[in-house]
Structures are given as structure tokens and as C-alpha cells.
Amino acid sequence: MKKFKRFIAITLIFVMTLSMIACTSPTAEEPEQPEEPAEETPATEAPEPEVKEGKVLNIWGWNNEFQGLFNNYFEGKGLVPEGVEVKFTIVPNKDNAYQNALDEALLNQEKAPDDEKIDLFLVEADYALKYVDTDYTLDIIKDVGLTADDISGQYKYTQEIVTDSKGAIKGTSWQATPGLFAYRRSIAKDVLGTDDPEAVQEALSTWDKFYEVAEKAHAKGYKMLSGFDDSYRTFSNNVSAPWVDENNTIIIDDNIYKWIEQTKAFTDNGYNNKTSLWDDQWAADQGPAGKVFGFFYSTWGINFTLLGNALETPLPEGVSATGDPEAYRAATEGNGIFGDYAVCYGPQNYYWGGSWLCAAAGSDNIELVREIMKTMTCDKETLTTITKDTQDFTNNIEAMEALAADDSFASAFLGGQNHIKLFLGSAKGIDMSNISPYDQGMNEEIQTAFRDYFNGTVDYDTALNNFYTAVIEKYPELKRPE
């Protein structure tokens, strides 16, 4: 018995230590420095020491994309003042989980001790309005202290989306997220006889033509799209009214109906592979074994998700195109279908995603928050470096125009295409005037509900009914249309 007690005690100690280690490791991430850009960024006017900074900077997000950028381009540059600890809290986005966690923290903001108050949090376009139109976010000009000049280089739409009903800008972003159609060069050659982006664009410029190409691809044994939701954003971003009207009634736009109609036809004809976004078959379809013509993807999707899925063996940790070009080439050349993708506009202009930084009311690190916003979202040098390093499309029109005109800038992943040029064209058409605070729930639930319809499990009316049920469960204040 004594031995048993000792065993239990040791096990418990082990388990407790393990959980402590496991809990502290994310903050103890090593600040990796990919490369030193020649010039220092102007944001190095060191934060005034006389202002008292909170000891802990709390940043909330739903993935580690910003964390990576922050580590490389802010913390890695030594811009975090001595004695301030940066703490990231990451909650997955799916099923409103991030929003729910964030809501709870924001509602507790006043009562929380200074070091636990949220200072900076990220929001997505699908629910940005929910936070922007409240007192939980700060005006980035009046309260945080950015100047109109600072943000003048950004895309206007990235500011409009986070402008509240009184006209105050409540957030700022380092990226713009125009969408394109990424297609497989080898499959395009087989189906259309050419892989030239302009010729392919010509062949896909309207939905009717897109349908024709799908037919041809099908005849050759390919699938035009991977799953049901691939083309969703091209329709949902071109709606004529928000999801919910002023009486809290749900409105399904004609464009959403078009998506349902088209996807059902594609599914019944065998033009897609019956996958859903983010599932494993969908990811596999983008890889070497995939037989799918192309994918609708926006900026981050092409250079993070698609690239990752296209490789046979994942990139080694810390290898980037600009950090170590030799290692990057060695790691990617002949790896999977790296270089086989190219991009074109596709049949319809759209955007997808995007992350905004919001300053939380009650933050005790306003100075630092301002510096982060300034460096990460307004500073042309930093944004240019980010684009060069990650191929992402950043939120500075001048910088992006310069790169689009730069013939030496090309994406090896896209077979030497300058994708920034296309993004630039697509970004002009972004219109976010019809977003609502409910978009995430609506988008997820309509995709889930109609998956059954596309699969043939239920009829159309049942799927529609399931959609209303699920959405009203999520947002009890909403009503079905009469």
C-alpha cells in the first residue's frame, strides 16, 4: 500500500509538472530571425520610456499567422520594450468558438487584473462588425494615436469594414485578401491545350464558360473543383444585401441560391469530388495525387494553404524564399507539384478572409499597441518585406504596385508568375458593403446544411429548413422569413 501511495504521488507530480510545461511552452517560443533587411524600419523610434507600460501584452487570435509575423517583424526586431511579456491566446475559429471565448474575456475586461486584460485582438471580416460597433474596441486614431497619414497607404476597403456607425475606424490590417482561381498548369494543358494564365482566364471568364471547361475536364477524367464549398465565396461576396435585414429576418440572397444550384449540378454531373472545405480529401486534392483542375483561393490561401498541400514532403522549419534562397530551392524543387500551379482571375471577383487588429478598451499597453499597429500595418518597408518573404498580399497600395511592376519579383510556387499583379487587379473590385456581424455562422451553417442536399441525403426544402434551425440556434434573435 505504501509503495502504491508513493507511486501515485510520483505520478501526480509528473502529471502536474507536465501540464505546467505544456502550458508555458507557447510563450517561450524562440524568436526566429529569418534575415536582416538592410534598412531599419522607421518604427524604431523607441517607445517613450516615461510612459508606464503594462507588464504583459495580451494578444488574442484564432491561429498563429499573426503570431509568426509578429515574432519575425516586431519582436524579432527588438521592438518589444524590456520587461514586457507578450502573451498570445489562440482559440480555434470554427463554430464561433473564438468569438465566444473572446466575448467572455471582453465582458470581463473591466474586472480583470491589468496583466490579464486583452490589449490587442484579431477579428475576421465575417464578424468584424460585431466588435467594431461596440465600446470594447478603441478608435485607432483618437484613442490609439495613429494618424490619418499613417493609414493613408492602406486599401480603403480594409478601413471601411472596421468603421463603426459613427465613422470611427476601429481596426487595421496588414493584408488585403483579393481572391483568384489557382489552377494546375499540367491539367490546363491537357484540357485546354494551354497553361498561359491569360488564355486560361479567357476560357474561364464567365460561369457559362467555366461550366464548359468543367465538362471538358470531366471527359478527360479530371474534376473541375474539389468540393461543394470551393466556389462559395465567389457567390457570397457578390450578394446584393446583408444576410440579416433590419427586422432581424434572415435573407438568402439570389447569389447564394445560384451557388446551391451550380454546386448541385456540378455534384450530380461528377464535376467535383464531394469534399468539404478543410477536410482531408480536400487537402489531398491539392497535392500531387490530386486530379482537380483548380481552387478558389485568396492571398493567404495560395501561399500558406495551397503551397503546403502541394508539397510531397513539408518544408523544413524556418526555410523561406528570402531567408535562405538556396535551401528553399533545394527543399521545393521537384517536391510534389511545386511550380505546377498558376493563377487567373476566374469568372467572378471576390475576396476571402482577412484579419484585422483591434485595440481592446481597457488596455494598459496603448503605446505598444500603437507601435505594433504602425509597424505591422502601416509601415511600407515592413509590408514590402513581408510580401517578399511570404508572398502574401499586404495592405499598402504603393508597395504592392511597386512589386507588381517589378519584373524580377515572381512566385516560384506559381511557376514564375507575378501573382501580386493579379491580386492588385482583383483587390480593386473588393466590395464589403454587404457584410453583417452574422456572416461566419451563416457561411458555416449553409455549407453544412446543404452538404446533405448535395450528397443526396435530403431534399432541398429539408436542407433549407435545417439551415434556418441551425442558424437560429446560434443566433436566437434572428427570425425565419415569413
Binding site: 464531394k274 452538404r451 434551425t469 440556434e473 434573435e477
Partner: protein, 319 residues
């Protein structure tokens, strides 16, 4: 009054220690169980939810929540789903457990390594249900190992999680795998509690093994059977983690694997405390009725022992 005072002095009462030792339990019970229970019932009469970051309510709405749950929502459908999936798992579970329990306890069969088998069949119950569901989700995905195996055997691939039968079947299979070991052990305990002389007497009387089972084993383990049935039913009503993880919270194709607790979770997740409270109260009532049944069944002596007792009494009196 006087006499009771006198009595107090005469004897030392240890009863108060009993009460003192019960205090910790009752304090914890009241704080963590009873108060939340009462407040759940209380809040089920209110409209109380979050709209974005704004709190709506609490506004007193009397039985509105109950009305909309019982008449406007799909609760009957989810109750049917729950019952359906539970039965789909429970029928094979009780059959196989009974068979195994009889084999393991049969003296004539005298199986070897029974303790090894008992351990093995109990194993799945030790895995966390969520992890188990995750495992099945990966195994049975459209390009998972099971489908690969089926294709290489020349069969058509089957999209388990896109089909109603597939999803419900998988949930039932998991519940079966997780609980049949536990049930086997309970039934074995029941069978081993039967006096072996009864079996011997049946043998001498020339009863076949089927007759022995039907007329000796089954009536003797009836209380255990009832206990197994009802605990499993209550567990079935509370079925949540397996279908939740397997269907990613969506309740499977056409919400056909949405159980009642998953429905409750949907409301809790959107912070709709009024509606969630009402569902809880309805479930509480259903479970309470079942619990009373189980209690009565266990305490009430079955006819067999009753008649035995009567005979024994009679015998005593005769003497």
C-alpha cells in the same frame, strides 16, 4: 420534555458525529449541484441570451421556452435519434455480454485466460470517449484506412459520415465497444451470485442448457438486468461526446445523429441560457422518472425470493 432531558444525560449519543461527517458532502452537494439545479429551473422561465456582445433579458416569459421546445423545435426528432442510436448499440451489447458472461462463468466450459479476456473487453471503456470518436472519425473518413482497405478488397468505397446509416451505425458501434465489457462484468457478478446447487439441481432434473438459462439464470439475475438496462438507458439519454466529436457538432447528415444533449449544447454554446435551461429541466424530469423506476425495481423483491421467504417463514412457524 423532562423525560427527554433525563434520557440525554443517561446515554451518550454518537449521532451528532454522523451529522458532522455528513456536512462536507452536503456543503459540496448544495454548492455545486443543488444551487445550480435550482437556478437552472429558475432561469428556464426567462428569455436570456447574448446578441453579439449585448445581453438580452433576463425577461420573465413563463412557459414560453418550454412551449417553443416542446412544440416548435425538433426535440422529438432528437429524442428519437437518441433512442434509435441507443437501441442500435444496446441490443448487440446486452446479447453479446450475456453470451460472454455465461461462457465465462460456465464451470463445464472452464475457459482459460478469462481474466485476460475480461481485461481486454473492458479496455475500450478506459479510453476517453472523445479520443475514441476522434480515432473512428479518422479511420472512417472518405480517404481513411477503412475505405482504403475496402477499395483494395475490391469493394465500393462507402462514405460513412455522409450517410445516415453509416453515421448512426458508427456511433452505435462505438457505444457498443465501449460498454459491452462493463456489462459483461456486471452480468458475470450476477450469475456468480446464483447458488451453484440450483444449477446442479437443474442438471439432475435433465434441463437443457437453454432451459437452464431461461428458467434459472435469467430469473435469478433479473435485478441486475434491470439495473444494466436502466443505467444504460440513462447513459443513452446523456449520449453526447461520441456523436459530437464524430460529426463535428453538426449532428450528422440531416441532423439525424443529433442527440438531445447535443441539442442542449447548441443552445449553451450560443449562450441561450433560457432555452438551454428548459431543455435541462425536461431531461431532468425524464431521467428522474427512469431513476425512480430503477430504484423501485431494485428495492422491490422479486416474486422468486418473496415466495422463498414466505416458505421459510412458514417452516419456522410450523416448528
Amino acid at each position: 420534555m423532562n423525560t427527554s432531558k433525563n434520557k440525554k444525560y443517561k446515554s451518550i449519543s454518537y449521532a451528532k458525529w454522523g451529522y458532522i461527517f455528513l456536512i462536507p458532502f452536503f456543503t459540496i452537494y448544495i454548492l455545486t449541484n443543488f444551487i445550480p439545479l435550482i437556478s437552472t429551473i429558475y432561469y428556464s422561465f426567462f428569455e436570456n441570451y447574448m446578441s453579439g456582445l449585448k445581453q438580452i433579458g433576463p425577461n420573465f416569459v413563463a412557459f414560453e421556452n418550454y412551449k417553443s421546445i416542446l412544440f416548435d423545435s425538433d426535440l422529438p426528432k432528437y429524442a428519437y435519434n437518441t433512442l434509435y442510436i441507443w437501441l442500435l448499440g444496446f441490443i448487440p451489447q446486452i446479447t453479446i455480454s450475456m453470451l460472454l458472461a455465461i461462457w465465462f462463468t460456465n464451470i463445464r466450459l472452464n475457459l482459460k485466460f478469462t481474466s485476460f479476456f475480461k481485461t481486454v473487453i473492458y479496455m475500450p471503456n478506459l479510453i476517453m470517449a472523445a479520443a475514441f470518436a476522434m480515432l473512428f472519425w479518422a479511420l472512417f473518413s472518405d480517404i481513411g484506412p477503412i475505405n482504403n482497405l475496402m477499395v483494395s478488397l475490391g469493394l465500393e468505397p462507402y462514405r460513412f459520415l455522409a450517410e445516415i446509416k453509416g453515421t448512426r451505425g458508427l456511433v452505435a458501434l462505438m457505444n457498443f465497444l465501449m460498454w459491452f465489457g462493463n456489462t459483461t462484468i456486471l452480468l458475470m457478478a450476477g450469475i456468480m451470485g446464483i447458488d451453484s446447487s440450483i444449477f446442479e439441481a437443474a442438471q439432475i432434473d435433465g434441463a437443457s442448457s437453454w432451459q437452464t438459462f431461461w428458467h434459472v439464470t435469467l430469473p435469478s439475475i433479473k435485478p441486475i438486468l434491470v439495473y444494466v438496462l436502466l443505467t444504460s438507458l440513462i447513459g443513452g439519454i446523456q449520449m453526447f461526446d461520441v456523436p459530437q466529436i464524430l460529426t463535428d457538432g453538426s449532428g450528422g447528415p440531416d441532423r439525424t445523429s443529433m442527440t438531445m444533449i447535443m441539442f442542449l449544447n447548441k443552445h449553451l454554446f450560443s449562450k441561450n441560457y433560457g432555452m438551454a435551461g428548459a431543455i435541462c429541466v425536461i431531461l431532468l424530469i425524464v431521467t428522474a422518472i427512469l431513476s425512480f423506476t430503477i430504484y423501485n425495481n431494485i428495492t422491490e423483491k422479486d416474486t422468486y425470493t418473496k415466495s422463498k421467504e414466505l416458505k421459510m417463514k412458514g417452516g419456522k412457524n410450523e416448528k
